[in-house]
Structures are given as structure tokens and as C-alpha cells.
Symmetry: C2
Subunit: 406 residues, 2 copies
């Protein structure tokens, strides 16, 4: 059993780095606050006797030796970056539970057959730089390191510049640290476990993701003197797109979601009809066929709206992540650990994307979920209980011990 | 006849102050660029022999003496501030045509019975500080000077601070400079004169204006893991409000317009359902009964949408300007001047608000319109011909001469 109070203590200690007045965390990837938590994590890893490496995209790896160093380690971990108005648990729980596991093994003097490597992946959230799960995507070869280094945030700062600013552009080439398999603990970020009073979610699949960048070009004109029928209003156009996305997603019942999260009017003024708007779209499904339908229906709706309103709408797919089917043997291993420890559990699909989803494309991977209050995440009110966090960390540890061998 | 080339020259000379790459002007009220054009205007007034006064809200008055100094002057002018992406003519034409009139009278050695006072009113546009036509509204007593001085822009800078920064907080109390009557020349900012091939619009009325500040409070949550039916999406809510405003305005045919010009998501992120949005509404009609209907229908629509979507929507009326009916005798004077000069003309309603609309509530006022290309205004592409501008300036001068007496 891990030390529940110690795990809880580290979660609340690191929540200082970027703490918001409403009790959440603002720790955008590669920001000054991210540097603070990274420095803390590096020191904690070193104090736990781990050998720390940082790769060229800033992902951090802490290695605990095993008896058999000829095989790659079992990877365990998550991320320490947050949303602009994020919570204390998303990513943090999985990373600090991996650290807690190492501390527990050290205290108990347990040696494993295979080595264990605990990870903090750069930019899992995707709100400062696109795509989300950026570093693990580069790790599995979906993008080249140079491509990712050149990605820019809204202020035009590149990933390379941001890494250099906080001193976290490491020496290790991306992908050099191999793993035998990968396990990640995370809060569910949805309402199912809580609604069914289950402690552990055995994650067997994950939704695919489509991300688009959009731009509407209508025509700026005077709000008072431009007759309604002559308008080419970019905001009215966006409004129809938002509602179309909503109804397209609803059409597929619980099997799809669709969101416009960002929308910026170019030169806003009370008495000017908006002429130009930039926006982003996020839509998802665990079913590849539905993903195709979402893409097709969204494009058709946008084309119809643009033609009717005589505006130009550009819609560029900037990221497509296929649905995830986690490795059946690893999923069983998670389920066995939950069973042996006596926790109530159920199989579950992840609504959110995770680094484990990327890693699963090149190695066996699996995930453990614990409930979060009201299913709320990506919100400063995100909450989870100490008992559930500890339960998740125990399932994580026992899964890893089963994979690494004692 | 005024000097058409000289008028055209001053329009293009002042268009440098805040010139944009697309050929427009960005000269927000009380900005550094506004200071530049104000300094230019003060110097030009002084060189034309006018006595310049600046009032406590920065409005500028250049007085040309008449034979009878016991009566207040005829006021003539407009404004020199622009929209964030504004054009070269909106406000500028009316202010510089007033200057051109003085230069023409000086050159011809014409003395008038009543004095003439040419004006540059502060913050007519209303895009940096609300309301629009701010200084003339304070002039007629709709707001106190202190109230206006404390209004803030989006960055939290007050009118008082902005005035002090550019050195244009004058000594003259607001309202001290009296006028016998007021005449303003402006581009139409709508499509009617051009469509009917008329050179002069004799403005007999103006739309009333309703301005609201709105705020939507939904709930931020994860774009991937939050099921569609559980969402309280602030942007989807705004989208319904935008389309409701559009259809409410359309219901009244050409007699109403309605626009959402500004909308800002509080902490935007691609994979976060928007939780909070601030927005503004501008709706107008020349019919007081329709204005009441617009207000009632908008509030009802907003309430229904908010209840159905389980979000909070705050909608505060921040400005209400009644429809304008310009002084019949002055309207006739404008029409007579147009007739005598042989220009094609028609009576017209102003879609936009103007300082003359405010001044008309305390003195006889009227306006002269000239066509602008495709009815486009509040856009960098705003355009007008030298011939039409000169025609408008001539009608303006002959109206003023009729009122001031030669
Ligand atoms: N787990 C999580 O919130 N990931 C962020 C990436 C996404 O799914 O949008
Ligand atoms: N004339 C003009 O564009 N005025 C700005 C105020 C308004 O009507 O919105």
C-alpha cells in the first residue's frame, strides 16, 4: 500500500505552483510555473535515487534500476502542465502517484526485475501549443522533433524558445528512452464512476480526436447604418457553426462530442459588425466511423452556412488522433490489480486524450481511472477524494509490480 | 464655392495620423494618434484666425467672430476620432469641411452677422469608451462631466487619465460654449444615396440606439469527456442570442437593426467548453415603438435561452438614445441650400448616431449627407469621391451662411 497522506501532501504542495484565487491551477506548459513544478519534480526524483533525463522536448524521465537492465523499463506517469483555469488533479495525480510508488518501493526495500521509469510528458494539455499530448506524439513518431520545436503559441513564441527560456531543452533525443510497456493513472474527468459508485475505472479504450483551426472572413461595417439583408456578419456565421457542431454531435447520442472552445473577433467594436473571426473546433468519438461522419457533416454544414451568408470560412484539420484500443493483456493486468485490492471497478472509455493513448500505438499501454467530483475537469473546481486517489495509486503500483516482476 | 482640392488635401493629410496598411485609419479617441490630429487641427484653426478653446472633456471649439457678438455662434463640425479599423471620411469630412468653410470665408473676406464656431467633439465613435457621441451627450446634460471622466476603456484607463496623458483636458466647463444652432456634414454610411444617384442627403431624422453590456456564466468543463446533455456552454448560449437578435431585427424589416459587435471568452482553450463570455449588443430603430419592442423581445429571448440552457445571462442597458427628429426649419435650410446649388437630393434618415442628434435635443440642429462607396463605413475600405465631398461642403457652407447671415 502506498502512503496516502504523503501522496496527498505532494499533490497539494505542487498545487502552489500556479495556484489561482478560485482554488485551481494555471500552469501552462513551459511557463515559469511549469519550471517551478519541474524543478520540484526533478529534486524529488533525485532524492528518491532516480537517474533523471530530459529529452529534446522537455519530457522528464526518472529511472529506477531493476535486476535485469537488459530490458527497457516499465513506463509510469502522466503530466504536470494544466489548462489556463485548470484543477489540481488532471495529470498531477498520475505523475505524483508514480513518484509515490517509487518512494513506497524504496521504503519497503523492494527490487523489481525490470527497471521502472517515471515520466512527466511535456504539453499534454494542448492549450498553449497544439496538438495536445504533443511530446508523447513526437515520441511515437507522429511528428518530428523539429516540427514540434517550431510550433507557436498565441503570442508567437515557439516550443524551442519556451524550452530554452525555462532551461528544459534536454540532451536526450526524443524516443531514445524505450519502455517495455506504459501505465498511466488519471482522474476520469467525466461523471460515470461517481454515478455508479465505482472506485476504479479500468480504461479499455479512448476517443479519437479531430482538431480544426477555423477562420471566417465576412465584412466589417456600421452596426447602425448597414441594413440586415446586406450584412456579411462573421459572428452570426460563427453562431450558426457552433449550433451546427452541437447538433451534429448530439445526433450521435452519447457516442460523440463537439466543442468550439476559442473564438476571437479581429477588431471588435460595439458598433461594428464583426468582419473576421478565428476559432477552433474539437470533436471526438471512440468510433472511427462516427469520426468520419463528424468530419463530413461539419464540413457540409460549414459550406452551406458560408454560401448562404456570402462569407468565406476556412476550416483546416490540424490534428487527427484515431480512437484508442488499449492492450488487452495490460487492461486485464489493471483489472486484476483492482480485483486483488478489493476495489469496486468497471471497464470504461476515456473521453479525454492521454499520453498513454499515444504510447499504446507503439507498445502495450493501459490506464487506471479514479472518480472526480461531478465529473468536472478543465475547471478550477476539479476535485477528487484522498481515498480515491490512494486507491488509484495502489492499483497503479500493483499493476506495475505485476508487469515489472518482483 | 469651397476649394475642393484644398479640402481633399486636408482629408488625406490628416489620414496619416493612424494610417493602417489597408488604407484605413486607426485613431481611437484620446490616443497618441488622436493627439496628433488634434494638434494639427488646433494649429490650422489658429492659422485661420480662430480663437481655440478646449473643454473639460477635450472637445475643441474654434471661434470666428461675427458682427453681432451678443448672440451665440452657429456651431459646425463633427469628430476626428475613428473606429479601430475605420476609414478616412467618417467624422473627418464634417470637421475639415467646417475648417474649409472658414478658410473660404477668410479668402473671400466674408463677414457674417452671427459668429461661427467649428467643433471637434471627443469620442463620437464610442469604441474605446461608451457611450458613443460621449462629449456631446455630456454637453446637452445627458451625463455629468464627472460621470464621463470616470468611464473606463477595456484596459481600465479612465477618460480623465486619457485626457491628461495627451494634454487635452481643457479649462472650459462642458456646456459653456453656447450655440444658436448646429449643422453637421457626414458621409451617409449607408447605401441609399449611391443607389438612387443623389448627391445630397437632407437628414430629417435619426435612429434611436440601445446599447447593452452582457455577460454569460455557464460552466467550464472538458471538451472531450463532458457529455453533450450535461454542458452549460457559454458560447452556444451566445450563439443563440446572436441569432435571436438577428431575427428580432429582421422581423421589423428595414425599420430596425441589431448587432453583437464584441464577444470575449474569459479563459479560452481548445479543449475547454467556454464557461464565461462578455458581449455587447447594439440595436436601433428610428421608431420609438419599435425600440421598445426590440428591448422587450431581446430580453424575452435571452431569458428563454438562459433558462433552457441552465446558464446565467446578465443584460444591462448601458445607453438609450431616443430617435432624433431634426429641427424642421433647419432641415428646410439644408434643402434650400442643396436646391440653390443645383445638387440632386432627397430627405433621409440617419442609420448612425451623430453629435448633431444629441445637440438637436437642446437647440435647432440639422445634417447634410453625401454618398459613400457601397454604403461601407466602419471599415478601412470606406470611400467617397472628391466631387461629393466638395458638394457636401458647399451645402454646409451655404446653410451656415443662411443661418449666420452675411
Ligand atoms: N486528459 C486531458 O485533459 N487531456 C487534455 C487533452 C485533451 O483530451 O483535450
Ligand atoms: N457616425 C458614426 O459612425 N457614429 C458612431 C456612433 C454610432 O452610430 O454607432
Amino acid at each position: 500500500q502506498i502512503d496516502s497522506a504523503r501522496l496527498w501532501g505532494t499533490i497539494h504542495e505542487t498545487a502552489q505552483f500556479g495556484a489561482t484565487p478560485k482554488g485551481g491551477v494555471r500552469r501552462l506548459t513551459l511557463s515559469a510555473e511549469d519550471k517551478q513544478v519541474r524543478d520540484w519534480f526533478r529534486k524529488a526524483c533525485e532524492e528518491a535515487g532516480l537517474e533523471v533525463q530530459v529529452d529534446a522536448l522537455g519530457s522528464m524521465f526518472g529511472l529506477r534500476k531493476g535486476r535485469d537492465m537488459s530490458k527497457p523499463p516499465i513506463g509510469v506517469g502522466s503530466h504536470l502542465d494544466t489548462q489556463p483555469t485548470g484543477g489540481k488533479y488532471d495529470g498531477v495525480l498520475g505523475t505524483l502517484a508514480a513518484l509515490e510508488m517509487v518512494r513506497t518501493l524504496n521504503d519497503a526495500g523492494i527490487e523489481t526485475e525490470l527497471p521502472i521509469c517515471i515520466c512527466n510528458w511535456t504539453n499534454e494539455e494542448g492549450s498553449r501549443f497544439a496538438p495536445a499530448m504533443m511530446a508523447s506524439a513526437a515520441y511515437v513518431g507522429d511528428f518530428t522533433t523539429d516540427d514540434i520545436l517550431s510550433r507557436k503559441d498565441a503570442e508567437g513564441v515557439t516550443v524551442a524558445q519556451a524550452l530554452d527560456t525555462i532551461g528544459y531543452r534536454g540532451d536526450a533525443p526524443v524516443g531514445r528512452q524505450k519502455f517495455t510497456s506504459f501505465v498511466e493513472l488519471h482522474i476520469e474527468q467525466g461523471p460515470i464512476l461517481e454515478a455508479e459508485s465505482k472506485t476504479i475505472g479500468v480504461v479499455d479504450s479512448g476517443q479519437g480526436v479531430l482538431w480544426y483551426d477555423g477562420k471566417i472572413t465576412g465584412f466589417e461595417s456600421h452596426a447602425g447604418s448597414t441594413p440586415m439583408p446586406l450584412r456579411r456578419d462573421a459572428l452570426a456565421t460563427l453562431s450558426e457553426i457552433v449550433l451546427a457542431m452541437e447538433s451534429i454531435a448530439k445526433k450521435h447520442g452519447p457516442k460523440a462530442v463537439g466543442t468550439i472552445g476559442e473564438a476571437v473577433i479581429a477588431a471588435p467594436s460595439r458598433n461594428v459588425i464583426p468582419g473576421e473571426i478565428a476559432f477552433t473546433v474539437d470533436c471526438r468519438s471512440a468510433d472511427a466511423g462516427i469520426m468520419d461522419a463528424l468530419d463530413r457533416d461539419l464540413r457540409a454544414a460549414v459550406a452551406e452556412i458560408a454560401t448562404r451568408r456570402k462569407v468565406e470560412v476556412q476550416l483546416d484539420l490540424v490534428w487527427r488522433k484515431a480512437p484508442t484500443h488499449f492492450d488487452p493483456k495490460l487492461v486485464d493486468a489493471v483489472e486484476n490489480a483492482a480485483k486483488q485490492l478489493g476495489y469496486s471497478h468497471r471497464r470504461i472509455t476515456s473521453g479525454a486524450g492521454h499520453d498513454a493513448c499515444n504510447l499504446n500505438t507503439v507498445m502495450p499501454a493501459a490506464m487506471v481511472f479514479v472518480p472526480c467530483k461531478d465529473g468536472i475537469s478543465h475547471n478550477e473546481l476539479e476535485d477528487a477524494t484522498q481515498t480515491d486517489c490512494a486507491a488509484g495509486a495502489n492499483v497503479l503500483m500493483h499493476t506495475v509490480l505485476a508487469l515489472a516482476g518482483v
